[in-house]
Amino acid sequence: MTHVIIGNSAAAVGAVEGIRQLDKESPVILITEEPHHTYSRPLISYLLSGKVTAEKMNYRPEDFYVKNHITTMFGRKAAAVDINAKAVILEDGGRVTYGTLLIATGSKPVALKLPGIDSESIFPFYTMKDAFALKQFIRDGMKAVVLGAGLTALKAAEALTTSGVETTLVVRSRILRNFLDPGATEKLSLHLSENGLHLAIGSEPVGITGENNGLSVRLTDGRILACDFVVSAVGIEPNKELIEGVQIATEHGILVDQALRTNVPGIYAAGDVAQGLDLLTGCQRVIPLLPVAYAQGEAAGRNMAGGNAVYAGMNMNAISFFGLPLISAGVIHEEPADEVYLQKSQTEKMYRKLVIRQNRVVGYVLVEQIDRAGLLTWLIREKVNITGFKATLIDGSFNHACLPPKLRREKIAL
């Protein structure tokens, strides 16, 4: 049976590895509009700031596809899927028939609709290509305005600042509100400011004027930010054009069950394009995070190869800005019935929040002191009843020795 994968990022790589764990023989065809090897999309800000070189962007070694006996079709855009004929129709007219198909087309930036947005000095920041373009453009001493409050926007702003560009981040509501609670945002905001990133909080751009000699970004609060260029990173959305008109069920993304199956037999979806199971809520949700994409891809790949994998994702994000690490996972915004435990230092950046629901940890936010966060992630993922060692979680002394002996032995197989 031929397995076909559309995509070339984490979910696609996960699928390749998932398939090959169980099926070393069957042909696998990977179709991607990108003309190059798989790379790690989150690293584009590192590329911009010069922390990594293009060569080190590779998400897997150069020979990865060869070693896994994958037929790659780089630079070939899949245009449509013919579910009756079980074939992928390429933009260039080619057809690739499949036994199983994985749609891992990822997401694309949300286009900002704004007067003047079509200026040449307005840069998207989503692909390696975008990062290269921006890197070519910037010069020390330039001024930039970054639009957006998500991870991409912040990483771009950080990279620009680090590169000597005086940068202002325009944030409509709150920085990283999907990942941080207000307390953590406060710590982060302070840190960003201290490191020279200007923040324009609580406003939106209403228009951009000017041309090559300088742009002016007008904000809702009346301010006008002069800059040399604008980076737009206001959000992403699932890249599901491919299946328009096909009977594959979608909401925000392509709906998949816990086995990553779409409603059409033989067709799977994974990654940013998929709207898969959320471990915590049990609902289907797009979770546009690389670890989730990879894990979904891997599970989908196993299932394509006849395996029996299930996966439910959860919010889990680790990031750092100007050296300040932050990790959050699960439920960040508590509900009224939840117990919340907060620790924060008045003078330092340390911040720690724990959300407990029915004697189970359901979420946490850590700033600065992030060590061993995975223990908490594990508690969330395994839905461990914390009665008996809750106090150690609250005071922060929690470690494996605090677990009840039976649970500890099961986990660690001492």
Binding site: L290, Y294, G323, A373, G374, H400
Partner: protein, 157 residues
């Protein structure tokens, strides 16, 4: 394949494993005094003692069969050696995003030193683990295990 096995009942909480782990991974290889007195960038211990009242034991990386760190790694630097089946971090490719720290259920991945942005974890010291060698009570042993006996609690999902 050989793996580290820990024996909770014999761990005496002396933390010699941590001390020797630091020295084994520092630039003055295995020289404790130089490592601790001269290396202000000395590495973090890859093994930590878990301790609570009467209970204590060492906990290094389990090299899980289904490793969350590998799945989570943003750069692909966390990989599994096809020969030894060990999970290791290619430090040249690691950017210190700490996603692995968020993912590792054992808390066995640490931030290296004070100033680097590299994740560090147990590498079994090239098949001769310093922690095992210096454990005074054989609470950490290095022994042959079958593929299926691999101590691993991560393969639930």
């Amino acid at each position: 394949m050989k793996r580290i096995r820990i024996k909770e009942e014999y761990c005496i909480g002396c933390r010699l494993c941590e001390v020797h782990c630091i020295a084994a991974h520092g630039k003055y290889k295995n020289d404790l005094i130089k490592t601790f007195k001269r290396d202000c960038n000395r590495p973090s211990p890859r093994i930590v003692i878990e301790e609570k009242e009467d209970t204590c034991f060492a906990l290094p990386c389990r090299h899980c069969r289904e490793a969350f760190c590998i799945r989570s790694c943003l750069t692909g630097s966390m990989t599994r050696d096809p020969e030894t089946r060990l999970v290791h971090n290619e430090v040249e490719r690691c950017v210190g995003c700490w996603t692995c720290i968020a993912a590792c259920p054992y808390g066995a991945i640490v931030r290296e030193g004070r100033h680097t942005k590299i994740a560090a974890k147990c590498d079994l010291c090239g098949q001769d683990p310093a922690c095992v060698k210096h454990c005074p009570n054989d609470a950490i042993v290095y022994e042959e295990v079958g593929e299926d006996d691999h101590y691993d609690a991560c393969n639930h999902r």
